[in-house]
């Protein structure tokens, strides 16, 4: 009887210690999150302001001194403007990515097929001249954060939309399959695809496998998708080949 008590006491002590450990970790996490929020806040306000000056006064030079600047000079100023605007876009993307990490996850039952149809309709409406066939499997549902998953799906669809823009017609699919013994969702297109040798760079933030001339973008879309899927405890991966399209799989 005494031995059992001693063992119980020890167990209780250890559990208390573990609980305190968890509480301490939670406090640290909360503090880190607050720091991230303050950082993002500062970035949001303070980094854009000088960029506005760079862009604005370059434009002022181009306009007010147009007759005193030759073509080369104007070209330099235009590069300055483009660089400032690009930096602004990068800042926006970084902020969005950090927001995805910071915000609270609300889990709901979601109709992914309906979401896909909405996104497809928006893309078509924005560019009615493009001929894209959307094949969307119906009845696909999942549990997750509606805003984040919408962002993830939109990123994937926008990518397919973008990388099929070089072809006169395109086909973008949304469906499900069993991959790696798991029920997974997929977004597939028959566009520019990618070289599978560089597949591990696909999800890196700001990493691109195409130049800006070929396809515009900052390279944050897939990094955002990955972060969102990981926050849901899922996986995301891709298969593709050059000019043979790409398929993005994700589990939740």
């Amino acid at each position: 009887m005494e031995l059992a008590n001693v063992r119980l006491e020890r167990e209780i002590k250890e559990r208390k210690r573990a609980e305190e450990e968890i509480q301490r970790t939670n406090r640290e996490l909360s503090a880190t999150n607050k720091e991230l929020e303050a950082f993002s806040y500062s970035v949001s306000h303070d980094l854009r302001t000088p960029l506005r000056s760079i862009d604005g006064f370059s434009q002022a030079l181009l306009e007010d001194y147009a007759d005193k600047l030759d073509a080369t000079a104007k070209g330099h100023l235009q590069r300055v403007r483009r660089a400032a605007q690009r930096m602004a876009a990068l800042i926006d993307d970084m902020l969005n990515l950090s927001r995805v990490t910071r915000c609270e996850l609300h889990r709901e039952k979601l109709d992914l097929s309906a979401m896909a149809k909405l996104i497809a309709a928006e893309l078509q409406e924005a560019e009615p001249s493009r001929h894209v066939e959307f094949v969307i499997e119906s009845g696909l549902t999942a549990v997750g954060d509606p805003q984040l998953l919408h962002a993830a799906m939109e990123n994937l669809f926008r990518n397919s939309w973008k990388y099929t823009s070089g072809h006169p017609t395109a086909r973008i699919e949304f469906g499900s399959s069993v991959e790696k013994e798991k029920h997974s969702f997929l977004v597939r297109d028959d566009g520019a695809g990618f070289d599978p040798r560089y597949a591990d760079r696909l999800f890196g933030a700001f990493q691109r496998l195409h130049t800006a001339k070929e396809f515009p973008g900052t390279g944050i879309g897939l990094a955002t998708v990955q972060r969102i899927i990981h926050r849901h405890g899922g996986e995301v991966w891709a298969e593709g080949a050059v000019e043979k399209g790409a398929t993005f799989y994700f589990t939740l």
């Binding site: 949001s44 306000h45 960029l51 506005r52 604005g56 434009q59 403007r81 930096m87």
Partner: protein
């Protein structure tokens, strides 16, 4: 449009110059009053400090308010302006760099009429100022003066 004042509350000299330029580009020739920090803005609005004796019947047509200001913050300016009987109906457009949710929420919570983010691209900025001018100076009906 003339005779209607725009109060610009902006501490950054570059942003002030660019806003002025954008207004000029849009032929908005209203008198522009610039307050370079929150305290100056309140002095202007309530005719105190350096603005004591100002004829307050000439209220600004619209207030373009930056949020990040020295001395008194943009939100505090807004709060005081909304708390004062004479100024509480003034149209206020928050014109700021940030779209952080807490800023937008607080801005609207404190009673801003509108929240516009300052774009980096100057051409977009000119367009934004054009739309703001068209709306707040022409289309929008001013609140009547209290008797």
């Amino acid at each position: 449009m003339d005779g209607k004042t725009i109060l610009l509350v902006e501490d950054n000299a570059d942003d002030e110059a660019l806003t002025f330029r954008a207004l000029m580009k849009n032929n908005i020739s209203n008198q522009l009053v610039v307050a370079r920090d929150g305290a100056e803005a309140l002095d202007y609005l309530f005719a105190t400090g350096q603005y004591s004796g100002r004829d307050t019947s000439i209220g600004p047509q619209v207030v373009l308010l930056d949020l990040n200001l020295p001395k008194v913050s943009g939100l505090e300016v807004l709060r005081q302006l909304r708390a004062n009987e004479r100024t509480k109906l003034l149209p206020v457009v928050i014109l700021t760099s940030s779209t952080e949710e807490q800023d937008r929420l607080q801005g609207y919570d404190y009673g801003a009429n509108s929240y516009v983010r300052k774009p980096v691209d100057f051409n977009h900025f000119i367009e934004a100022v054009r739309q703001l001018g068209l709306y707040w100076l022409i289309l929008n009906e001013q609140p009547p003066a209290r008797r």
